[in-house]
């Protein structure tokens, strides 16, 4: 498995982390991670790999949805992190169409130590801050249309980090996964924090403190 030699573990990790911290502090804000020339195996985007590289080390346990061998090996070789079962994982890497049961099996933390709740890193097809002319359609959209893999979701966030409400758009994210996350994070401060990543290096975060509304646009 390829060891990434172009990645600078000090400065690239720091720069990516600052963008990640900014995205977590401002839920729904889309930040673009610089291209690092990483070559992750299929199923893991460069942005998701960068998130892993910035945060994982030998003290963090991670789980890859479907126990994908190539991705697991890739992250172990490059970060020295420990592959563990989903119930113990601090970080879970998954695709946008992953089964919602994934979220239910993740660590949510305890009332005394809610920070032990896991972080879910999800690869989606595309993240966008704006979709031209969609404003009216969002209003009109039915909330419980049957989703399919190609549909675009409008996610409306409110709570800490958001002035009023912030809307952003995701393609390739299963609505059932969003629902599972809503249920999982219903009992603040327990819950799971979500990092969305797409193929163009964009990331957006939904911490457990955010209230999420969603609508299918098409």
């Amino acid at each position: 498995m390829q060891r990434e030699t172009l990645y600078d573990a000090v400065f690239d990790a720091q720069a990516d982390y600052r963008l990640l911290l900014d995205a977590m502090a401002r839920p729904g804000k889309i930040n673009k991670l610089p291209r690092r020339g990483l070559t992750p195996p299929p199923g893991l985007s460069e942005a998701a790999a960068s998130v892993g590289f910035a945060l994982l080390d030998a003290n963090a346990g991670f789980f890859v949805d479907g126990e994908d061998v190539a991705i697991t090996r890739y992250l172990v070789v490059n970060t020295s992190a420990r592959p563990v079962g989903i119930a113990e994982a601090d970080f879970v890497f998954a695709g946008g169409l992953a089964s919602p049961s994934l979220v239910a099996s993740m660590k949510k933390g305890t009332l005394a130590y809610p920070d032990e709740g896991a972080t879910l890193v999800v690869d989606v097809e595309e993240l966008a801050a704006e979709v031209r002319g969609l404003g009216r359609e969002v209003e009109a959209a039915e909330r419980h249309v049957t989703p399919d893999s190609d549909s675009t979701l409008a996610l409306t966030l409110s709570g800490p980090g958001v002035a009023g409400e912030r809307v952003f758009f995701v393609r390739g994210l299963n609505t059932t996964l969003v629902q599972a996350l809503q249920e999982c994070n219903a009992e603040f401060p327990l819950g799971v924090d979500l990092v969305l990543a797409d193929g163009a290096g964009r990331i957006a975060c939904i911490p457990r403190s955010s209230k999420v509304k969603w609508a299918i646009i098409n």
Partner: protein
């Protein structure tokens, strides 16, 4: 000959090793995701003693990059001993540019003050915290306060505020007035004066808190509701300088220091040194605006 360059630098960039930085970074993300919650962390050894700003330093060094412009203040002053030494240390360990100018800085570390000038979304503001536990005055055991936070059981805190009012006619908490974050956690804002508390509410900036001795990290994200604890009939108020003005500039809408003369008389001067410099030089200023400061007549 193959040259060994690995040991030519005695320290890693920003002093802390990468593995520990990652641990602090992971904890900071959780702190941001759970506003006001005190997240335990490793608090590694630093070349200064714990309790002298190590928590703030850990946060700063875990997030600082080569492009950052660093500013550090101690009780509003760029020139105070704690600020000067930590500035020298950060500068030596990172090679970052440092500044006194609040608006120019991208990363600001502070001891016990928020700057008078409004902070922006491009800046990150790091507090040095001596005691992160707001409930410590009413409950001595950590496992109990942790349980109280977990259950949002803040009755003892309210009773202590009530008792303070009944005994003394006011809530006698000057620095570090307890606040409630996003309607959930009660948080110690570090010993900033009451004057600065309203500036935490719905701010543009990300506020990060590091308590090195107590090994806790916490955060207030931008645009977060921060309410000082108050009763319906006993409201929170900021410091009242009885109409005193700064003796250097005549300015009155800033936090003032009392300066005592040999004859026992006292004068007042703007506490924030960069703000004072700007006022004296007549440079443009962009101070924080909040309902409490607006009530002061200019």
């Amino acid at each position: 000959m193959i040259e060994n360059t690995k040991f030519q630098h005695r320290y890693n960039f920003a002093f802390i090793d990468e593995s520990t930085k990652k641990e602090i970074r992971r904890k900071l993300l959780k702190a941001v995701a759970i506003p006001g919650y005190q997240c335990p962390y490793s608090s590694p050894e630093m070349p200064i003693a714990r309790g002298w700003g190590t928590g703030g330093l850990h946060v700063t060094l875990a997030i600082i990059g080569r492009e950052d412009i660093f500013k550090i203040i101690d009780q509003g002053s760029d020139a105070s001993v704690n600020a000067c030494n930590l500035r020298d240390f950060v500068q030596a360990m990172t090679g970052c540019r440092t500044t006194f100018d609040t608006t120019e800085a991208t990363l600001i570390q502070t001891r016990h003050r928020i700057t008078e000038e409004a902070l922006t979304a491009e800046q990150v503001f790091v507090f040095q915290v001596p005691q992160p536990e707001p409930l410590r005055s009413v409950e001595r055991y950590e496992y109990r306060t942790r349980q109280m936070h977990g259950e949002a059981d803040y009755a003892k805190m309210w009773v202590s505020l009530y008792e303070s009012f009944v005994r003394h006619g006011d809530i006698l908490l000057g620095a570090g007035y307890p606040v409630r974050i996003n309607g959930r956690y009660i948080m110690a804002p570090s010993p900033i004066p009451r004057w600065d508390i309203p500036n935490l509410h719905q701010a543009e900036t990300l506020y990060l808190f590091g308590a090195g001795r107590e090994k806790r990290l916490y955060a207030v994200p931008p645009h977060t509701t921060v309410e000082p604890l108050e009763f319906e009939d006993v409201r929170f108020h900021i410091e009242d300088f009885n109409g005193q003005v700064c003796n250097q500039t005549g300015y009155r809408k800033a936090f003032l220091d009392e300066i005592y003369s040999d004859d026992g008389s006292k004068q007042f001067v703007v506490n924030d040194s960069n703000f004072l410099d700007k006022l004296r030089a007549g440079e443009p200023i962009a101070p924080f605006v909040n309902a409490y400061i607006q009530q002061i007549e200019s």
